[in-house]
């Protein structure tokens, strides 16, 4: 990848997905748009990697998928956070913050 956009570190995609869904149910396309938007196009999320990740979250029971009507009146598959998903988001967020802090600290002082 020749551009300046960042590749996501391993495992962070799940966290981003959970965070994105915290605001409310979204379908796959909307999730990809939202992530691009929020991250101001500075993160490269492979469109294709989104769905396997969502399906893995579904298998783990962190999200639940339902068919619904999209904004342009088409059938779309909406993902919603489950109670376990919400709890997991908190845990993961906390972990991520701590990790970021530690990394930042090391970078400053070392």
């Amino acid at each position: 990848m020749a551009d300046s956009r960042l590749n996501l570190p391993q495992g962070t995609l799940d966290l981003l997905l959970l965070r994105t869904l915290a605001a409310g149910p979204l379908h796959g396309w909307a999730i990809s748009q939202r992530i691009q938007q929020i991250s101001k196009d500075s993160v490269e999320v492979q469109q294709g990697s989104l769905y396997p990740a969502l399906h893995r979250l579904e298998r783990r029971g962190l999200v639940k998928a339902e068919w619904g009507e999209s904004e342009n009146n088409r059938r779309a598959r909406y993902y919603r956070l489950t109670r376990e998903g919400r709890a997991q988001l908190e845990v993961e967020t906390d972990k991520w913050r701590r990790l970021a802090d530690v990394v930042a600290q090391v970078l400053e002082t070392a």
């Binding site: 379908h27 396309w29 294709g48 990697s49 769905y51 088409r74 059938r75």
Partner: protein, 867 residues
């Protein structure tokens, strides 16, 4: 955790719907992306192309399927479906392969059922895992009974057992209004019934005081005797039975139906520990039974008992020196010879399964070579080597599954055959295993495990090969002729070599065993066994006198159809044994004080005539010579009166002192002790009365048995007449073990031969079919068809001959283990080895030649059009 499981289960069960939903979801995404591109000004066609390219639809689908976490199972299901389709498409191949495996698996299961029942399975008694048998053994005897005084000391000194009892297998003469009958019986010590878990179905068990000498005699009878002889009369309790040895005995209990702990017994009486049984050196048929304390292992018990035995041996060297303890799980076979033979058969039948696996392996390998093109295409479409290998393993496991299913049926019938061959199991060493011999859950599980093993074993080589073939070589060259082909052939040849080696080893083993059996069955007995009837008599008092004996034998002799009769102990091919040391008058007394030993047979005046003994020198003795004269066998005459005649010379029994016994005749050597018993010095001593009688008949001995029996009954109603049997039956029974093992190993060898031949035929036929094109070209270019066929046969026979050589070398080493089972045949018997090598080579030659000839008969044109 649970939700994930539910998800996966849903993914498996609603696979079609999930695929459709995945399609729809991803299509929605691509459409939205396309719309985005259109909005930014791309033409519709280009927009869609870009969206698809960015997304990588197929890749994403695959990854989403992976994300479901059921990929492995899904693929296995696919493999199974694919494999099943393939097997259905080649019914001939499938049937041959499955039948091979079925024979291998079924044979193993049947033999395992027998071996398990005798050697491994716990008995069905309560607390069986803590029950042990206590016997003794020495350096040369693997299992011997115990003596009562030793038993008492062991019981007192050990800390390993919470309960210990002893039992003696015997027989009693039961006399009542219906006449005298000999019934199987058991003498049991205090605590025996408790150990065996027997609660009387009627009445009670023995009390400790009833075992004491002088206590009024009591008995517990079997349910079978109660029902059979006393019609289930509830008044049986308190009734007195006239039993030999015990006297008038009160019945105090009836055992539950089917109860036994070893050989069947109809009457149980308290243990007799008086008279000869007071001797520490006695070891008749008394065995100990004990229950380990919780937490004590059998190894600990053994160590403790050995320590006690060592102390007792020091204390009583005369009786106990050299005898160690033999503590084994209760009900387990203790006879080393039989155990070794059973394990040997287990090994032989394992060979058959190995041959079947190699067979199937090679057939699969040949087929995968033919399917190389398919494999190459699948690989280029993204299938991994592992996936291809797994596909092949799935196929072979499917095959072995079919084989295992059919194998269970074969096992059932094979077991019936084996049991038929074994005859009466109660005469097997240690008696019929408690719980019987049948296809039970353990055998079933063994079959399942074997099936899995066979599937994996036969699929291993093909799976390994298919994942090794290089992709380019396959696709580039039309799949028919490739670089991997030579290597394929090497593998194929290696498997053929292995198969032939295994088959030859089995053939050699079966060959020498059958030859030994043949020698046994045709051996010169030294007497005429045809038209000879044997029987035993006994009355409740067991006090036969010479006079009564003489009357009995005379009565038998005057029965129409009887030519001669004589008392004899031990009976030829009987269970008894009698021997003594002897001293030849005037010979040098041996320095170590040990006199030579001879078997001593007590025989009536007509014994030689009845048996048809050949008198080589002198004469047989008369009735008047008891205690003064004897006849000896040739072996003894040669060994101890070498160079001169033994007739007229004297010897003594039991020591170098009078009374002297004069040799009046020398009889030809016989095999009265059993065909394979070692020939040694034998002495015939005159006697008038014996419980056992041989009868020479004019016609068939079976036909006259009834007349003889009623003749004895009419003379003396108190005599129980039993074991009435033609001598040929006794001889036949004495050969049951040899016949059993010989026929089984021989049959296994035959199965191995057929399997090896069919396997070889299949492999050669397949490769011949695949070489049709090459054969066609050769013939078109002028090669003689016969020459081409010869070339193919030569190529086919090379690994066969290597296998035969390898197998012969292996068999030379392995058959040495058979030495102790063989009679008059060396384990490396050259004629047998030569014969089985030729047999296998001949059969292999035919198996090679048939398909080769067929291949060369196809016309060149047809061959060139082949592909």
């Amino acid at each position: 955790m649970f939700s994930s499981l539910k998800y996966r289960l849903g993914a498996l069960l609603r696979r079609g719907r999930m695929e459709a939903e995945l399609d729809e979801e991803l299509r929605f995404h691509v459409e939205r992306a396309t719309e985005g591109h259109i909005r930014s000004g791309l033409p519709a066609e280009e927009a869609r192309r870009r969206a698809l390219l960015d997304f990588g639809l197929d890749q994403v689908k695959e990854e989403c399927r992976d994300a479901r976490g059921v990929r492995l199972i899904e693929e296995m299901a696919q493999d199974f479906a694919f494999g099943a389709r393939l097997l259905r498409k080649n019914p001939g191949f499938t049937a041959a392969a499955a039948l091979s495996l079925a024979l291998g698996i079924g044979g193993n299961s049947a033999i395992f059922a027998v071996v398990d029942a005798f050697l491994f399975r716990a008995s069905p008694l309560a607390n069986a895992e803590r029950l042990v048998t206590i016997a003794t053994k020495s350096a040369t005897v693997s299992d011997r009974a115990i003596s009562y005084p030793n038993f008492v000391d062991w019981k007192r000194r050990n800390r390993a057992f919470e309960e210990m009892a002893a039992y003696r297998v015997t027989a009693l003469i039961l006399t009542d209004g219906a006449g005298a009958e000999r019934v199987p019986a058991m003498q049991v010590s205090d605590g025996f019934f408790e150990l065996a878990g027997m609660k009387a179905a009627l009445g009670r068990e023995f009390r400790p005081e009833e075992e004491r000498p002088g206590a009024p005699p009591v008995a517990v009878i079997s349910n079978e005797l109660w029902q059979g002889r006393y019609a289930g009369d509830p008044g049986i309790l308190g009734r007195t039975l006239n039993l030999s040895d015990a006297g008038m005995t009160t019945v105090i209990g009836v055992a539950p139906p089917g109860f036994r702990i070893g050989p069947r017994a109809d009457v149980y009486i308290p243990l007799d520990r008086t008279g000869v049984f007071e001797s520490r050196a006695s070891a008749d048929s008394l065995y100990g039974m004990a229950r380990l304390k919780p937490g004590v292992t059998i190894g600990q018990a053994r160590a403790q008992m050995d320590a006690i035995a060592a102390a007792l041996a020091k204390q009583y060297p005369d009786a106990n020196q050299g005898w160690r303890m033999n503590v084994t799980p209760f009900g387990r076979l203790r006879d080393d010879q039989t155990r070794a033979a059973l394990l040997m058969v287990m090994g032989a039948v394992a060979f058959v399964l190995l041959i079947a696996c190699v067979n199937v392996s090679n057939l699969l390998l040949a087929r995968t070579a033919g399917r190389a093109h398919e494999a190459a295409i699948r690989k280029s479409l993204g299938a991994t080597n592992g996936r291809l290998a797994r596909q092949l393993l799935t196929e072979s496991v499917l095959l072995s599954g079919l084989g295992g299913g059919a194998g269970l049926v074969i096992a059932y019938w094979a077991l019936q055959g084996v049991l038929w061959l074994a005859g009466d199991l109660s005469s097997a060493p240690g008696g019929e295993p408690l719980g019987g011999v049948r296809i039970d859950l353990r055998v079933f599980l063994f079959t399942v495990a074997l099936t899995l093993f066979a599937g994996l074993a036969s699929g291993m080589t093909p799976a390994f090969r298919v994942s090794r073939r290089s992709l380019s070589a396959r696709l580039g060259q039309g799949g028919a002729i490739g670089a991997g082909r030579r290597e394929d052939r090497r593998w194929r040849d290696a498997l053929v070599t292995l198969e032939m080696a295994l088959a030859l080893a089995l053939l050699a083993g079966g060959g020498v065993m059958l030859r030994s059996l043949h020698r046994l069955m045709t051996a010169d007995l030294g007497f005429d066994a045809g038209r000879l009837l044997t029987l035993s008599v006994s009355d409740a008092t067991r006090r036969g006198s010479d006079e009564s004996g003489q009357r009995l034998v005379e009565a038998i002799e005057t029965t129409p159809g009887v030519e001669a009769a004589a008392g004899a102990f031990p009976l030829p091919f009987g269970h008894g044994w009698s021997g003594n040391s002897f001293y030849v008058e005037g010979s040098q007394a041996p320095q170590n004080g040990r006199l030579p030993e001879a078997r001593v047979r007590y025989a009536g005046p007509h014994y030689a005539r009845a048996l048809g003994l050949r008198i080589e020198e002198g004469r047989w003795f008369t009735a008047a010579e008891a205690g003064q004269s004897a006849v000896i066998n040739e072996r003894m005459a040669r060994a101890f009166w070498a160079g001169g005649s033994a007739v007229g010379r004297r010897f003594s029994l039991g020591g170098a002192k009078p009374p002297w016994i004069t040799v009046v005749g020398v009889a030809a050597n016989t095999r009265e002790n059993g065909i394979d018993a070692d020939l040694g010095p034998e002495i015939y001593m005159p006697t008038l009365f014996q419980y056992d009688i041989v009868v020479r008949t004019a016609g068939s001995p079976g036909a006259i048995a009834g007349a003889v029996r009623s003749r004895i009954r009419s003379l003396d109603k108190a005599q129980a007449v039993y074991d009435v049997q033609p001598m040929t039956d006794r001889i036949s029974e004495s050969l049951v073990p040899e016949r059993f093992f010989g026929v089984i190993v021989g049959s296994l060898a035959a199965v191995a031969l057929v399997m090896a031949a069919v396997g070889l035929y299949g492999v050669i036929a397949y490769s011949a079919a695949r070489r049709t094109q090459e054969v066609g070209i050769r013939i078109a270019l002028g090669a003689a068809p016969a020459g081409v066929a010869a070339l193919m046969v030569k190529q086919g026979m090379k690994p066969v001959l290597a296998g035969i050589a390898l197998g012969a070398a292996g068999a030379l080493a392995a058959t040495r283990l058979l030495a102790s089972f063989l009679f008059d045949v060396r384990p490396n018997d050259p004629p047998t080895f030569a014969a089985v090598c030729l047999l296998l080579a001949g059969v292999a030659l035919i198996a090679c030649w048939l398909p080769a000839r067929r291949a060369t008969r196809i016309s060149a044109v047809a061959a060139l059009r082949w592909e």
